[in-house]
């Protein structure tokens, strides 16, 4: 994982938060793409293999649960690690249902996002 950048797909409907997260992760040297909802994220994944998917649970059009069902059924990016970001309650249960590898509750610390994405990327490479 030293010469190849980590590929991160970020799914978040809030524009400000999405742009900020893209900037943060790109600053860390990752290759980042983003989508406002699950449906657009799926389109993105069909042509691009990723290491980590950062998912907001409640997105319009297609939420994280439905996205995950489609992603697994289609077999796109099957080895990608999943990080859930959510402002909702019962985050852990939702994350487990989605089959996430990690989850962070909004608001979260910058370092927590960066470190979690990098840890998941390392896991994915190992």
């Amino acid at each position: 994982m030293t010469d190849q950048p980590t590929r991160v797909l970020l799914v978040e409907d809030d524009v400000s938060l999405r742009d900020t997260l893209v900037e943060v992760l790109a600053d860390e040297g990752h290759e980042v793409r983003s989508a406002p909802d699950g449906a657009i994220a799926l389109q993105e994944l069909r042509g691009w293999d990723v290491d980590v998917i950062v998912l907001d649970i409640m997105t319009p059009v297609m939420d994280a649960f439905e996205f995950r069902r489609h992603q697994l059924a289609e077999g796109v990016a099957p080895d990608a690690r999943i990080l859930i970001l959510s402002a909702g309650r019962e985050l852990q249960r939702a994350a487990e249902r989605i089959g996430a590898d990690a989850w962070l509750s909004k608001p979260f610390r910058l370092l927590d996002v960066i470190e979690t994405v990098e840890r998941l990327a390392d896991d994915s490479a190992a």
Binding site: D14, S16, T20, P60, D63, L85, A87, L110
Partner: protein, 383 residues
């Protein structure tokens, strides 16, 4: 012909024995003067008198003093005489003075249809237990309803807190992340003018979002507590609508909006509140429809008042959604994953109502999108 009379006599005896043995009904005869002629086991049980105590007494003693005073016993006999039969329900008095709830049927007996009654059959049933059971049942249902309403209020409050905290957390997350990012860039010596500008814009937009959410929550509490009344002033609804639409130009969305309106349309309204209504409706139209799809705004001026119609080509409204749309958190099932508190239409509805007007939601006639119509009456023009 004693051989023929014997079976009849036997039948009469058997019938009397049968009636006397009935315990669940008080069955007895009253003479035309109102005196008790016969008595059965059921009557003894219901009213507490033994046969020898009551036979020959006037039947009015079964009634409450108030009903005796009002001439009720005479009235029911007169009714039975007139119609052949009379049914009644009410309080009756036992020997020991206690009362019971009775169902009573009095039937007049006559030799032939034209002669006056020679006696009356009175059948009385004690319904006290049934009445008590019914009352308990009613009380129970009332209690269950109250409990269900209280539970519903708790669920609504829970939902409110969940939605409010969910919505507040996202801009707070942006604030935190944007600030931390700027700080980090600064420490690395990479906080250039571009990054400063972007960072501050994000912080500003998250702060504005928080401010708007808090204002919305305060609005709901203002409406819930009755709040201050409207400050009406002559307002050009066309200018107000145009101003609100222009405000969306920041979001590069103004190009989607087409305003069809006369030059002006004046009405006495509370302008800031009406501004809120138009803002909510346009915000919804933008939020729930694909970007670049047109949004039509039409203002119509009439003698009776002004009509404002906003039509989009978005996700639309199903019938179930339409019914709950103007309730607090009543957003459509198809809107659940969109940002927002679900209070905008609730607030708008209340503001329009305060103006004596109406707000209505409909599916577009071609099925693609929603149409919201606000009708504001001219003061004094209301019929």
């Amino acid at each position: 012909m004693p051989n023929d009379d014997l079976p009849l006599l036997r039948g009469e005896v058997a019938f009397r024995l049968l009636v006397e043995a009935v315990v669940d009904y008080a069955i007895f005869l009253i003479g035309p003067d109102g005196r008790v002629l016969t008595w059965n086991l059921g009557a003894e049980r219901a009213k507490g008198y033994a046969a020898d105590e009551i036979i020959g007494q006037h039947f009015s003693r079964f009634y409450t003093p108030e009903e005796q005073e009002a001439g009720r016993p005479q009235f029911v006999l007169a009714r039975a005489a007139e119609y052949g039969r009379f049914e009644d329900e009410g309080w009756r008095v036992r020997k020991d003075g206690t009362r019971f709830w009775a169902d009573v049927v009095i039937t007049a007996l006559r030799e032939d249809p034209d002669s006056p009654p020679y006696a009356y059959v009175k059948i009385t049933r004690d319904l006290t237990e049934r009445r008590e059971a019914e009352q308990q049942q009613r009380a129970l249902i009332g209690e269950q309803r109250a409990r269900a309403a209280a539970e519903e209020a708790l669920v609504a409050r829970d939902r409110f807190l969940a939605i409010a905290s969910h919505e507040l957390r996202t801009p707070v997350a942006t604030l935190q992340l944007a600030t931390e990012t700027m700080l980090r860039s600064h420490r690395r010596g990479r906080l250039d003018a571009d990054r400063l500008d972007t960072g501050f814009r994000r912080i500003l937009s998250a702060t504005e979002r928080l401010g708007a959410l808090i204002a919305e929550l305060l609005d709901v509490s203002r409406l819930a507590s009755g709040g201050p009344s409207l400050h009406r002033q002559p307002t050009d609804i066309v200018a107000l609508t145009r101003e609100v639409a222009d405000r969306f130009s920041d979001r590069d969305e103004a190009a989607r909006m087409r305003l069809v309106a006369p030059d002006e349309a004046w009405l006495d309204v509370d302008a800031p509140r009406l501004d809120q209504v138009v803002t909510n409706l346009l915000d919804n139209a933008l939020k729930y429809s694909p970007s670049e799809s047109p949004i039509e705004i039409r203002v119509t001026d009439a003698d009776a008042g002004v009509e404002l119609r906003i039509a989009d080509r978005g996700i639309g409204l199903d019938a179930a959604t339409r019914d709950r749309l103007f309730e607090a958190f009543g957003r459509g099932a198809n809107a659940e994953h969109y940002q927002g508190l679900g209070l905008g239409l609730f607030i708008s509805h209340r503001i329009v109502e305060e103006h004596g007007g109406r707000i209505e939601a409909a599916q577009r006639s071609d099925g693609h999108g929603a149409v919201f119509t606000v009708t504001l009456p001219r003061q004094g023009a209301r019929t």
